[in-house]
């Protein structure tokens, strides 16, 4: 009894003499709610509403006095914005800080807001390239390449892999943040963070290079040359018997390298392909990058390309 009174006296600003702790169930609840962090995204304070919404189970658990609850709610309605998944480690650290505060540690509003703002910038710098520009394009391209043939596995793979990665990332980084407490800020500004970002951009650039070659399609139609082949270089259809035997002969001749018709047509595209396959898509991508850097809106470029496609088709170029 005496001991308890003493504790209360020492920690004068303690909310409760007994130590309150967030259980795993509380943290799970916060993690689930942080799924909706962008729900009330607004131009004034961005993710603040979702952040506060996620914090509510913890606030309810940690503070019993109405006055403290009010202050906590207001504290967590401050400006916040980062990549929605890397918000999780910030949530974890904030949970640890709030827990300390509820138990009487001298953690003030400025410290909590400072940790939130201090972490959100660098972490958004990791989340955007890793999730939006590496994982999603890769899984998306994988799923889409299956889907183009009508294969249901495409969408299923994309959906499952994405959500497994996302949920695992959110839960484990939140737990990591919670356990590491405020120490995480130092850790994250260390080497690991930079390594992850660099590794992701290497992989991302590599995959982008291959995607441009494979998936940007431009086909130049104009015929560059039309050469009449010498006899014996093409299949002489008039000498092929009109029977199953004939099909066999024709296929054998085709297989040995004979052309299908007496004239060899070379389009502009064939010439370009023999130079470097995918050269035009590459140049088009570089042009788009340059336009984007010149602050041309992506929508304008997209609509412009449609116009080019229609006009190019009309004049027989594409």
């Amino acid at each position: 009894m005496a001991n308890e009174v003493e504790t209360t006296e020492v920690k004068a600003n303690a909310v409760e003499p007994k130590k309150v702790e967030l259980t795993q169930k509380d943290r799970r609840s916060v993690c689930w709610r942080s799924t909706f962090i962008q729900g009330s995204w607004n131009y004034e304070r961005m993710q603040n509403g979702g952040w506060c919404y996620a914090m509510i189970p913890a606030i309810k658990k940690l503070y019993s006095k109405k006055e403290d609850q009010r202050e906590a709610l207001k504290r967590h309605l401050e400006f916040f914005n980062t990549h929605p998944y890397v918000a999780s480690p910030v949530v974890g650290v904030t949970l640890a800080l709030e827990e300390d505060r509820a138990n009487g540690a001298p953690v003030d509003d400025v410290a909590i807001q400072g940790v939130k703002v201090g972490m959100m910038g660098p972490l958004a710098g990791v989340g955007d390239p890793v999730f939006w520009f590496t994982v999603r394009p890769i899984l998306g391209a994988l799923g889409a390449s299956l889907a183009l043939t009508g294969n249901i596995l495409g969408p299923i793979l994309f959906f499952l892999l994405w959500n497994v990665i996302r949920i695992a990332f959110m839960w484990y980084t939140q737990e990591f943040g919670y356990k590491a407490g405020s120490a995480i800020t130092e850790d994250l500004s260390g080497g690991l963070l930079q390594k992850v970002t660099k590794g992701a951009s290497i992989l991302g650039m590599f995959i982008l290079g291959s995607l441009i070659e494979r998936w940007v399609s431009i086909d130049f139609k104009p015929v560059v040359s039309s050469v009449t082949l010498s006899e014996g270089a093409y299949i002489d259809w008039s000498s092929i018997p009109n029977s199953v035997k004939g099909i066999q002969t024709a296929l054998t001749q085709y297989d040995s390298g004979l052309a299908l018709s007496a004239t060899k047509v070379t389009t502009l595209q064939d010439n370009l392909d023999s130079l470097i396959p995918g050269l035009v898509p590459l140049l088009l991508t570089l042009l788009c990058m340059w336009l984007l850097k010149k602050k041309v809106s992506p929508i304008v470029i997209i609509l412009g390309l449609f116009v080019v496609g229609i006009l190019g088709h009309l004049i027989g170029l594409l």
Binding site: A144, I202, F206, I212, C288, L305
Partner: protein, 268 residues
Amino acid sequence: MSPISMVLVVIIAFLAGMEGILDEFQFHQPLVACTLIGLVTGHLTEGIILGGSLQMIALGWANIGAAVAPDAALASVASAIILVLGGEGTKGVSTAIAIAIPLAVAGLFLTMIVRTLSVACVHRMDAAAENANFKGVETWHIIAIVMQGLRIAIPAALLLVIPAATVQGALASMPAWLTDGMAIGGGMVVAVGYAMVINMMATKEVWPFFAIGFVLAALSELTLIALGVIGVSLALIYLAVTENKGSSNGGSGGNLGDPLGDILNDYE
């Protein structure tokens, strides 16, 4: 379309609208949204193919900070509905894609409107917080999410009540040069998404990896998975090599920590 299909389509549209802002489960991505709409309307294969084609275009669309990307949610939901109503099967896919692009712009404006309306929601949340009213904070947050869902659900419902004949008529009245030209344009617009991504990531250090990827992709025997394995390996090798270089540089200084330089020097 049966009433049950219609209700399910509107529900999917609602989910896609929510996800358009949340960006968590990815219901708004064409690959998922178009497939689901295809599934509930009995046009699964067309839905999957449309989803795959649109996904290729939307690969690089991402909301960065306060910037808003073209809206994948409205583009995928509305184009899938038009594809189904048009009744042209897989032939209608390229037309549906051409329609999807202007819709992505329309969706962009809709989400900007809702994001502005959400300012009012968070002000209500402030007021609720003043009274330590947890329910109030939660309710206004949920209302904001619902607004984002309705942003797509309402246009989807409107598209559904337009008679199929009107949609078919509008599609049929498009001349071949227009649809073919749009399909050609659709093959090129993929580049814009890639360009957005490259502008974000490119540094002098990582450009060589882009070149390697570009050249290797010409080997059609390599699947995307194989390319992924090569990419991951390259990244790991590069990180390991640069790390070794960094640590030995720290220890001894000079060009002793430059293994490639040492080898080259040996040949001189």
